[in-house]
């Protein structure tokens, strides 16, 4: 006979959730500190550098902040986009694949459209990326609506297909392959022409990329879209109960396809912006945002402001870990990944602990 069982907490309080998150983070940092100390590194110093993303006491602090924003923007947009489809209970785990096809399309424009002004080129790249990713998303939604295929499997498989497509492009030295650097004998991806590389607003030495502004505007727009528009209302109803949506006269199939288009197109936009900002593409251009974005969307409980805050925190963690690691020869960026994993794991555990509680079964007593 089982003596203990899990019980969902009757009241969910934000305060408890935050306290648990904090406890989880402290515990994981503690584990990290032990590991760091065993390698002869002062953990406080390391964490200090990590949380300030290496900006304190750094002559080139603005460079670090730029780097941080480059990590943040794709993660933020992708998480919001995934949140959009999750809100509809459409399990789009194809963020990686949608990101990659968007990046490839942006690169096609970048390598082939020359002679246009920079803003026009970049906008064309983004449009191409959004269309290709959007169409990929619509295709998945179409099969779901028409044949009730499992969107989780289809989007998961497409991730690998897209990964192999970009790997093929990056490894095939042929005349037709305009993606590659013509000067290099080894197959490597070429650099975009100057007009395809994003610039920004100069604030002193700091270069505020346009993509950051686009991302901030998107947060506001998506918030309004989900909360106040008819489309947002439809997404909420379809996600809550498809039968009810149908009963209310909504065209459920149409709504699913439309939302998936928007969701994937946003991921495409993230890819276009990222490609343009880095001036090239690669197999690792996604920086795993398609996966991390799923975690961010859920940690943010699918609420737009919470997703925005969560992605900032995760980006600090990712970029901060890497920056801090560069300072010490005894560890490399793999330690950053390890620490990230420990922290994410404990936050998810904390989330679980905040939702459920373990109760002891009382034995039957004599009355």
């Amino acid at each position: 006979m089982k003596k203990y069982h899990l019980v969902r907490r009757p009241v969910q309080s934000i305060k408890r959730l935050l306290v648990y998150y904090l406890i989880g983070i402290v515990i994981s940092l503690g584990i990290g500190a032990i590991l760091l100390a065993s390698l002869g590194i002062n953990p406080f110093e390391y964490y200090g550098r990590m949380l300030t993303i290496g900006m304190v006491g750094n002559k080139y602090a603005y460079k670090n902040f730029e780097g941080f924003l480059k990590v943040l923007v794709p993660l933020l947009i992708t998480s919001l986009a995934l949140g959009l489809s999750f809100k509809m209970r459409f399990w789009n785990i194809g963020g990686e694949g949608e990101f990659l096809i968007g990046a490839i399309s942006a690169a096609i424009v970048a390598f082939n459209v020359t002679g246009l002004p920079r803003p026009v080129t970049i906008i064309l790249m983004c449009v191409a990326a959004m269309l290709s990713s959007g169409l990929l998303g619509v295709a998945v939604a179409f099969f779901k609506v028409k044949f009730n295929t499992n969107e989780t499997l289809v989007t998961l498989m497409l991730n690998y297909i897209m990964l192999y497509v970009i790997t093929y492009l990056g490894k095939t030295k042929e005349d037709w392959n305009f993606f590659l650097d013509p000067k290099s004998a080894r197959p490597i991806f070429g650099k975009f022409p100057e007009t395809a590389i994003m610039d920004g607003i100069k604030i002193g030495n700091f270069n505020l990329l346009w993509s950051v502004i686009v991302a901030i505007v998107l947060v506001v727009l998506i918030y309004i879209y989900l909360k106040y528009t008819k489309h947002g209302y439809e997404i909420a109803v379809v996600g809550d109960s498809a039968a009810t949506a149908k009963y209310a006269g909504m065209k459920v199939g149409k709504i699913i396809m439309r939302t998936m288009f928007i969701s994937s197109a946003l991921i495409g936009l993230a890819a276009g912006l990222t490609a343009s900002a880095s001036g090239t593409i690669s197999e690792t251009i996604t920086n795993n945002v398609g996966w991390t974005g799923i975690v961010v969307a859920w940690l943010g409980k699918l609420s737009t402001p919470a997703i925005a805050i969560t992605s900032v925190l995760i980006a600090i963690l990712q970029f901060g870990c890497k920056t801090a690691a560069t300072k010490y020869p005894s560890i490399d960026s793999n330690f950053a990944d390890l620490l990230q994993g420990i922290i994410l794991f404990s936050v998810l555990t904390a989330d679980f602990a905040a939702t459920f509680t373990i109760k002891k079964k009382e034995d039957a007593k004599n009355a």
Binding site: A243, T244, K361, E362
Partner: protein, 531 residues
């Protein structure tokens, strides 16, 4: 007096909620005990503790003078307790015999025993069951499945048999048959607990009644010394007027006429089969039929949610077949369907009352935005008018109690001022007080000349509330009867298809004499049904 089983001070908590609090119950050997209580009063929870599904938090169970501990269904079966659940626990693709075999604990060895079939047949003969052991469960009717469930526990040697709302899915004739079997079992020395909230059945079958209210033990009375009124008071905790009013209203011309309607279900089988009927303004037309006789498909077809194969749906003389659900809604035809899980259709459970108010007309405001201010006003109105108990307009519907959920749904449907109201199972799962509030709402709509199609489960309620009752069986019309001039038995026979009143004596039931359809003037000589 030796009891077959005795429960003392049983308590069971789910979270902070007490499902059972200090409940006592004594079952004498060879008696039929009715366990009476409203929905949510903890009847099923209590019985699940006897069948080993739950463990009590405190209290003791005594059998033959000894304290026993039941921590699994296995323990329960060993003690000779058998439960027939409300939702059958049968494997559809197995035969009756194989379903019984699953739980037979004395079948040892590698091979199936041949004489199990004989055991089943002897058992069936002993209690007067009519069953074919080789029939697949998937081919069985509801009442056959229930028979099999009872036979199953008898074959396992159960001496104490618990039946959870066994009559909910049966027709009047089938209930009679069931009761005969139960009396036979009692004669053979079995002790029976029957869970129900239908008073007439309690009076008909039980020896004693134990009443629960809000999880607490109220009283145990001898059936012969009580009556329906006193039992209701015990069950509800206050005096209640048990008369459902049927307000007579001057009827108008037919508002909605259904001619020759044929609709398929999701599996592609014919669910509604050439159905004819009509609703006038100011009348409530009841629809009676065994569960799954095409009720859902009929509702969906009228609301434009399901394509129709053949036939006409005429609203005020205009054929509305092929119109979009929104267009049909604009014409004033409102449909509310309460499914078995009570939340699946009509309401978005995680969304607030406010957001649910505009489910059907969120598209009305111009531009891309929804009008939440208007929605909040509407929510306030519904909450006030129907006395919905809720902390605020922004509370998620799923957090409300069953009665309040249904009030929100009906409130939204009637606030748009429909002229035809289709309501399926509006009191499903509600307690008596809430049910009466729903009946009052419907009668109020009737006074406003609204034509109401009431799809119900409880024939007693329908006979009291409705002006006329239409009976369907496998999607076919069995006849429309005037509720003043019919009996439960007649309706029961029609529900099973053994009585067909359509086309008797040259009458075509279900087609109005003063039809609003101009092109079918030749039908004028047809009579109004049942009158």
């Amino acid at each position: 007096m030796e009891y077959a089983i005795e429960l003392k001070g049983i308590s069971k908590r789910f979270g902070t909620l007490f499902a059972n609090k200090n409940v006592n119950l004594q079952l004498k050997k060879g008696e039929i005990l009715a366990l009476l209580g409203e929905n949510g009063s903890g009847k099923t929870t209590l019985m699940n503790m006897l069948s080993g599904i739950y463990m009590p938090d405190s209290g003791s169970i005594i059998m033959d003078g000894k304290k026993v501990s039941i921590s699994s269904p296995e323990d329960s079966a060993k003690l000779g307790i058998g439960m027939v659940h409300q939702h059958f626990k049968l494997i559809e693709r197995f035969t009756a015999l194989d379903n019984i075999r699953i739980g037979l604990r004395d079948e040892k060895g590698l091979f199936l025993k041949k004489d199990t079939k004989n055991l089943v047949l002897t058992m069936a003969a002993k209690f007067g069951f009519d069953i074919d052991p080789d029939k697949l469960v998937s081919n069985m009717s509801v009442s056959e499945k229930q028979t099999l469930e009872i036979l199953k526990v008898l074959c396992y040697g159960a001496k104490i048999i618990i039946l959870d709302e066994p009559t909910a899915v049966l027709t009047v004739q089938e209930i009679d048959k069931l009761f005969k079997v139960l009396r036979k079992m009692k004669e053979e020395g079995h002790s029976i607990i029957i869970i129900t909230h239908k008073l007439n059945e309690v009076m008909a079958i039980s020896d004693r009644v134990t009443v629960l209210r809000h999880g607490e033990y109220i009283d145990t009375v001898v059936t012969a010394e009580s009556n329906e009124k006193s039992l209701t008071e015990l069950m509800v905790g206050r005096k209640i007027d048990l008369d459902i009013k049927c307000v007579p209203i001057e009827k108008t011309k037919p508002l909605l006429e259904i001619r020759d309607l044929t609709v398929r279900n999701d599996e592609g089988a014919i669910a509604v089969d050439h159905l004819d009927f009509y609703i006038r303004g100011g009348e409530i037309l009841g629809v009676a039929g065994i569960a799954g006789s095409g009720q859902k498909e009929l509702c969906e077809a009228i609301a434009g949610l399901r394509p129709i194969i053949d036939g006409k749906i005429i609203h005020k003389g205009e054929n509305i077949v092929g119109l979009s659900p929104n267009k049909i809604l604009e014409k004033g035809i409102s449909m509310s369907f309460i499914p078995e899980d009570r939340l699946g259709m009509g309401l978005a459970p995680s969304m607030s009352i406010t957001d649910n108010m505009i489910l059907k007309n969120y598209k009305d405001p111009k531009g891309p935005f929804i009008d939440r201010k208007y929605a909040r006003e509407e929510a306030k109105k519904v909450i006030e008018k129907l006395k919905v108990v809720t902390p605020s307009t922004e509370t998620a519907v799923r957090k409300l109690s069953g009665g309040n959920v249904q009030k929100v749904l009906l409130g939204r449907e009637i606030k748009s001022g429909p002229n035809v109201l289709i309501t399926a199972y509006p009191v499903r799962g509600l307690d008596i007080g809430s049910s009466f509030m729903i009946y009052d709402i419907l009668n109020e709509q009737k006074k406003k000349d609204v034509g109401i199609l009431f799809i119900g489960e409880d024939i007693d309620v329908m006979m009291a509330l409705c002006d006329k009752i239409m009976v369907i069986c496998h999607g076919r019309l069995m006849g429309v009867v005037n509720s003043n001039h019919t009996t439960k038995e007649e309706i029961g026979l029609m529900m099973t298809g053994s009585l067909d009143l359509v086309d008797k004596g040259g009458k075509t039931a279900g087609i109005a004499r003063d039809s609003a359809i101009s092109e079918t003037e030749e039908n004028k000589e047809t009579e109004e049904a049942g009158t």
